[in-house]
Symmetry: C2
Amino acid sequence: MSDRLTFTLHELVAELDAFADAALQAGWGVTFNHFQFLAVLYDHEPVDMTTLARCLGVTKAAVSKRVPALVGDGWITAASQPGQGRSIRLSLTEKGTALVRDAGEVLEREFAAMLTHPSLAGDPIDAPRLNAQLVALTAFIQQQPTAPQETLA
Amino acid sequence: MSDRLTFTLHELVAELDAFADAALQAGWGVTFNHFQFLAVLYDHEPVDMTTLARCLGVTKAAVSKRVPALVGDGWITAASQPGQGRSIRLSLTEKGTALVRDAGEVLEREFAAMLTHPSLAGDPIDAPRLNAQLVALTAFIQQQPTAPQETLA
DNA sequence: GACGGCGAGTCAACTTGTTGACTCACCGTG
DNA sequence: CACGGTGAGTCAACAAGTTGACTCGCCGTC
């Protein structure tokens, strides 16, 4: 383990994703990536491709390529809306909604249980406060000027 | 912003990476991915490909494919060691070491400055303590049984 | 009512990583 | 000394994203 917070954050996120992926594979036969797409859609539906891409942190081309398969497997619906240019309205099907609800609930519960596990009792984590701190930090980074000049290189 | 800690962590890491990438591109003309490879090597050199791959969280094939270009551009050296099977010993060149030292120092400083910025003074972040908490949490997740059964699906 | 612009989606080429099969160097054991 | 095993690296095929150029609806202006 590292003493550098940035490294620790990367490791933590990697472990979280690996754990979620294993749970999702075992319980529902889907990958974390698949779940994440549906979960973000769940929070924003109905939504067009470009907006969803921004929420997912990928390009619209990446979303565009995944949509046909997700529609074909009955997870989502895609409908072009007359009078709205080429905009396509994405929504979850009942199957997709059920996955996000069920799996999401289990994952939330697992994670909450980890945070309060006795083995971390030496210095317990105050999740709501931590979340608020990290949200503030994230927002602050976002509004940072793009980069420092190479003042010493 | 989300009220879910796992989402917040993903967003924070994405912002950190984007910030570091912009700073590295502006100051040294390299990507964050490139820097990360060298920085992890810096912490472990000399090291063989398989070990480095594990430290980077990628497969050994991915490392194997990147090495020739990195050697060609003078960032690292790769030497097969007689009497050690096919093991290849990777090390940083002087150029690679200088990049990690200089850019790493700047990034560390930038990040530390963010953590102590007045705009976060409402609920300041205790970095060493937070790091210790997250390290403990990461270790705990790592040793979790692979997955819960689909007890309610 | 044609013209130009804009925003949303799509496509082709490329990049980076994964998987599983393979090669090769060494090390035992018989 | 041959023989099988093991661990490290490599290769080919595939998967998922990015970029930049493109198409297509719509909307404004002349």
